[in-house]
């Protein structure tokens, strides 16, 4: 195994996301905004593996999204 252990999965529901952009502020390690203002994950898709050290920041991102487009799951 390489890299840090992934302990959670952060899921972005693209049908809810309204490009508010808070997630990229709270969790710049995971999201940056595309040219239309929507978050792009470092992992490319809608499900991002979150290592232990980012779990609390990910929880903050979940709480900060005004439309509840983010959710954190056990993989």
């Amino acid at each position: 195994m390489t890299g840090p252990e992934k302990v959670r999965q952060l899921v972005l529901d693209p049908t809810l996301c309204a490009a508010h952009g808070m997630c990229a502020d709270v969790l710049p390690e995971v999201y940056e905004l595309d040219e239309w203002g929507y978050p792009v994950s470092v992992s490319g898709g809608l499900r991002t593996p979150i290592p232990a050290e980012l779990v609390s920041a990910a929880k903050r991102a979940v709480r900060s999204c005004p439309v509840r487009a983010l959710s954190l799951h056990k993989p």
Partner: protein, 447 residues
């Protein structure tokens, strides 16, 4: 359609070589034989039918080529889990005869010649998973609504079959959209919901393509081994192909899987002129250069090995006289308009990609424009609730690759196509009337 060995679904008359129309139930039974009453007799339990389906190796013909028995088992498992937990929700069956791909005509051809075969398949599928309700979905305005309606009226089935007509939108036929609409929602894809677990009104929902169900009707009659004896063992059986473009006799043809592409083209009278690349799988499919495709067996794995995709069984030979950049730009524009407008990268990304392609189709495109296009293609993929944008990206990216020489010419302000491209002449990719883009949000036209 000429008489050929290998045809199973389409009732081709051996004497005349013509495909018959078996809209009458009696004529249908005379041609294919009677349907065994699966689910009734003691030795014809649903479990035995499921075993035959497993043995057949049948894979879905709606685009994904997913093993049908595996999907059925998932529906059964999900229903069993539910009933032990709560009130017990019976599974539902939806036959997907929407045929959303504009270049596909196979499901309509199948239904106009053998509507009862698809309905028999629905009865078998419902028996296999224990569904008591079944729906056949045809897009609003479909040419085969009357035929199917009349066929249903002639039958007495153990399961009630109803005809439903969701809106004629490309993404309305994606399975979660279909299940959502059937449950009185909008015909838009639902994020993270798999119909086999949570479909129509939350019930386990089996969605199968019309052609898949027709094969199932024959498996129910002749058994899994019979089915598996023909075609590529990895994806057995025969399959319908909608062949179009620069061929002598465009139309639908049934061949055993694994038939080489050049043989399929030969059966359609051969190419009628120079062709650089062919579109496989439709507007959510992929372009492959002719020299790389002709010898390839028409079966999911060999076709994908050369970058193509069988999808819903579309093969379109684009004449070299038609500007491919113009075709790709027009289709991308149409597909952008077909987005449900729910997901940002699809709603905004696809129109942006289409704009870049419109520049590429013109004669003032720069390398900056193509660089931006390629960046955007990378941005749009894997970020939608459904695979619609991913399909468009594949269609465009493979097109840029297959037509690299034409891209280079356009960058030099030239175009190799000789045909006058307006008005749309024969051999160009079909485009149903589209909508204004960009889409704001799924509205009335998804009702």
């Amino acid at each position: 359609m000429a008489t050929r060995v290998g045809v199973r679904l389409i009732p081709v008359d051996r004497e005349t070589g013509q495909a018959r129309v078996l809209s009458d139930l009696g004529a249908h039974v005379a041609w294919y034989g009677p349907m065994p009453r699966w689910g009734k007799a003691r030795d014809a339990k649903p479990a035995a039918l499921l075993e035959e389906i497993e043995r057949s190796g049948l894979r879905g013909r709606g685009g994904g080529w997913f093993p049908t028995a595996r999907k059925m088992r998932a529906v059964i498992a999900s229903a069993a889990e539910r009933s032990s937990m709560s009130s017990g929700r019976k599974p539902v069956l939806i036959a997907n005869a929407m045929e959303g791909e504009p270049a596909s005509t196979k499901d309509a051809v199948l239904l106009s010649h053998a509507p009862h075969l698809v309905l028999d398949g629905m009865v078998a599928a419902a028996a296999a998973v224990g569904a008591k309700e079944a729906y056949i979905a045809l897009h609003r305005g479909s040419a085969v609504i009357a035929v199917v309606d009349a066929a249903i009226a002639q039958r007495k089935d153990p399961v009630k079959i109803r005809l439903i007509t969701p809106p004629a939108r490309y993404v309305a036929s994606e399975e979660s959209a279909l299940a959502h609409w059937a449950g009185n929602g909008l015909a838009v894809p639902v994020f993270d919901e798999r119909p086999f677990e949570h479909g129509m009104n939350g019930r386990p929902t089996l969605v199968q393509n019309a052609e898949t169900l027709a094969h199932l009707a024959l498996i129910a009659r002749h058994g899994g081994q019979w089915f598996a004896d023909r075609g590529d063992p990895q994806a057995p059986g025969t399959t319908l192909v909608s062949v179009g473009g620069s061929v002598a006799y465009p139309g639908v043809i049934e061949v055993p899987t694994g038939t080489p592409v050049d043989e399929i083209l030969r059966l359609c009278g051969g190419l009628t002129g120079p062709v650089d690349a062919l579109l496989t799988g439709g507007y959510g499919g992929a372009w492959v250069r002719r020299d790389e495709l002709l010898a390839v067996p028409w079966s999911p794995e060999p076709v994908s090995a050369v970058g193509g995709v069988i999808g819903a069984g579309i093969l379109w030979a684009l004449s070299s006289q038609i500007c491919p950049m113009d075709e790709i730009a027009s289709v991308a524009h149409w597909m952008a308009g077909e987005s449900a407008g729910q997901c940002g990268p699809c709603r905004f990304g696809l129109p942006s990609v289409a704009d870049d392609l419109a520049l590429l189709a013109g004669d003032r495109v720069t390398s900056e424009d193509t660089a931006r296009l390629k960046r955007r293609l990378g941005l749009v993929i894997n970020r939608g609730a459904c695979k619609h944008p991913d399909g468009v990206v594949r269609f465009v990216s493979t097109g840029l690759h297959a037509f690299a020489p034409e891209v280079a010419m356009h960058l030099n302000g030239r175009c190799g196509a000789t045909a006058i491209t307006s008005p749309r002449q024969q051999g160009r990719l079909p485009l149903p009337a589209g909508r204004e883009i960009p889409v704001k949000a799924p509205g009335k036209d998804f009702q």
